[in-house]
Symmetry: C2
Subunit: 378 residues, 2 copies
């Protein structure tokens, strides 16, 4: 029932078209996976999300474990039923939170703040808000302050209770400033955890193994080979790849060349619109991205002519839609003037309307890349 089928391979690049079959339906790849961290795409109802041409969502194990707790989700009939989304769903494993609540917070680093490699993380150094040991991570819950332990077994158990179609192994997502020694040591742990996850899983959910290795190509290759050798239904590629697009693409190429061709490859947390074609060309099938939703809530919309910050002066008199070439309902019905007014007036629906447009725009962008592959132009 679950599986992956490549329907076309590009001759000019490593791009491919595919059908990812899950227990809740198919996903035509390449495909953007919008982020629904707490079982909701921020500012949209799930009915609206469907209308943005979204095929699949990714929720967050760490957040859902803390609130409302996986037992409540399971009691409600699982994540699909709980959130009224009968299409494919992923949950990520919580590994990224190890990074973002740990070193990321300590050093002000994150997916968005790149290129800050001035603070090397050395062997044995521990982030302040959590403790990483060989079995997992101890967090302090941001919801109620209690201590929470999360390791590979725990992550799988939680993800099984949540019941998404695709789940991920629990990894340590090393910060971009981690040195080779730290990253290597971390990788040993991540690989050990990958095995534990595979053994712990009892459900029929698809389990994707995560490749790490930071910005070190030898470690990336080692990780890809190791993860590839286990029996995963697909692969996740996590972490940072270093500076610049070139490094990113060559690193993804190296990783992908060491992964079984007929298994789906998910890139965890892509950055920006301009990265999409690059990673798809390297054989990435799916990728999650918080940019369209995150930027919308800060007043920034994406158009075929670049970004617009609707909070800036000048838009209150602009009768144009966000993008004349966009066929989303926001662009069909609302002017920049009205949207700029709503933002200034702090109206909640501004966030809904901008999020809708951005998601629709991103999904349409990926559709055009798919067309290119179909027509042999990528």
């Amino acid at each position: 029932m679950s599986g992956f089928k490549i329907t076309k391979k590009s001759k000019k690049s490593r791009a491919r078209l595919g059908i990812l079959e899950t227990a809740s339906g198919i996903v035509e790849t390449p495909c953007l996976v919008p982020v629904a961290t707490q079982a909701a795409v921020k500012a949209l109802t799930n009915e609206q999300v469907l209308e943005t041409k979204t095929q699949i969502l990714i929720c967050n194990t760490f957040h859902l474990h803390l609130r409302p707790g996986e037992s409540i989700v399971k009691g409600a009939g699982g994540l699909h039923k709980f959130m009224n989304w009968d299409r494919p769903l992923m949950t990520d494993s919580g590994g990224f939170q190890v990074f973002s609540l740990g070193f990321g917070r300590d050093f002000g680093l994150g997916k968005i703040v790149k290129n800050n490699l001035s603070l090397p993380v050395r062997k044995g150094q521990q982030p302040k808000l959590l403790k990483i040991n060989n079995d997992g991570v101890i967090f302090t819950s941001f919801v109620d302050g209690r201590k929470v332990f999360l390791g590979p077994k725990e992550s799988i158990k939680i993800q099984e209770k949540l019941g998404a179609d695709i789940i991920f192994t629990f990894d340590e997502c090393t910060p971009p400033n981690a040195d080779h020694e730290y990253t290597k040591k971390s990788l040993v742990k991540t690989h050990k955890w990958a095995r534990v996850c595979l053994e712990a899983k009892k459900s029929k959910q698809m389990l994707f193994g995560i490749v790490q290795g930071g910005r070190y190509s030898d470690l990336r290759e080692e990780s890809a080979k190791f993860v590839n050798s286990l029996g995963f239904d697909g692969f996740g590629i996590g972490g940072e790849f270093g500076n610049g697009k070139k490094e990113m693409t060559s690193m993804i190429r190296r990783v992908a060349s060491n992964l079984k061709e007929n298994r789906p490859r998910h890139l965890l947390g892509i950055g920006h619109l301009e990265d999409m074609e690059l990673v798809i060309k390297e054989g990435i099938d799916t990728f999650d991205c918080s940019v369209p939703t995150h930027y919308a809530r800060h007043g920034t919309v994406f158009t075929s002519k670049g970004r617009l910050d609707l909070d800036k002066p000048g838009f209150l008199n602009d009768k144009n839609p966000i993008d004349k070439n966009c066929s989303c309902f926001v662009c069909q019905n609302y002017s920049r003037a009205y949207l700029a007014h709503l933002l200034r007036a702090k109206e909640i629906n501004a966030l809904s309307l901008l999020t809708f447009h951005n998601l629709y725009f991103f999904n349409s962008f990926v559709e055009r890349i798919k067309e290119k592959i179909k027509n042999g132009k990528l």
Copy 2:
């Protein structure tokens, strides 16, 4: 093109069914008028508002004057086009803001804080944040701190530029603690302003004259007779009526009995669900109400078995919809558990979903009252 036709009169009460014809279509009365203060129903897109069975909205002249300004709205083609709402629209005149930013703020009073009559307002007393004189009111803008003058002529000019189908005269909405002397003096001003509005209006918009008089039945009767004697297309009934439902209904009865029968009567700012049948029985045709939208944003939903505060413990395990008897899309698709989770997780879409339900519920509630009138049961 614009007008009002009574299609059925109740034999058991003063309730009536009617068709209010506006330049943007008809409104079947009695009818709730949801509040879209800043040209948006808070937390909903206007497409969603339509799906709640809403027929007409009321926007706020005071707010839209300050932000984005009526010139921008006019430049966008008027309020209907600006906000993408091609159905009937009202704008209120700004008179209520005279109250709520003046005495209301000084004494912590408002529509919701009733029964606080311990601080009588005396002759000559002025609220702190604004100055009322015989020509109008000087406000300090909460947007940019500039001084703004708003009087009857200004209000009409702004409302003409905004371009709603139904506009209101500029009045002083006296606070519930105003004494007879203050209220009488205020009424002289309100009546003078009513005439000024009538003369100032050049557009074909329907203009409703506002009856005031506070909690003094002699002043209410005087006001109703005076406003009725001018050539308004309909009537607004504003302000407070004193304590308790009985006082409210007998006061509305007294006012309504002095108004032309074949003109629509709008009650400005009704309080709660349980008031609706009472005021409709006294011959009220339309009424605006911020309760469904306001309460939703604070986690409270209305059901056929009373209110629920979804923020309270216990709902996270509740698989029931908000109301089993409600046919809105939220009740068809989402559980109390999920909605309670979204509220706790501070997800924006919680506000959208609860607002949708509440508006749908209120509109359905009024529909049932209409049915009762139709069937001779009210």
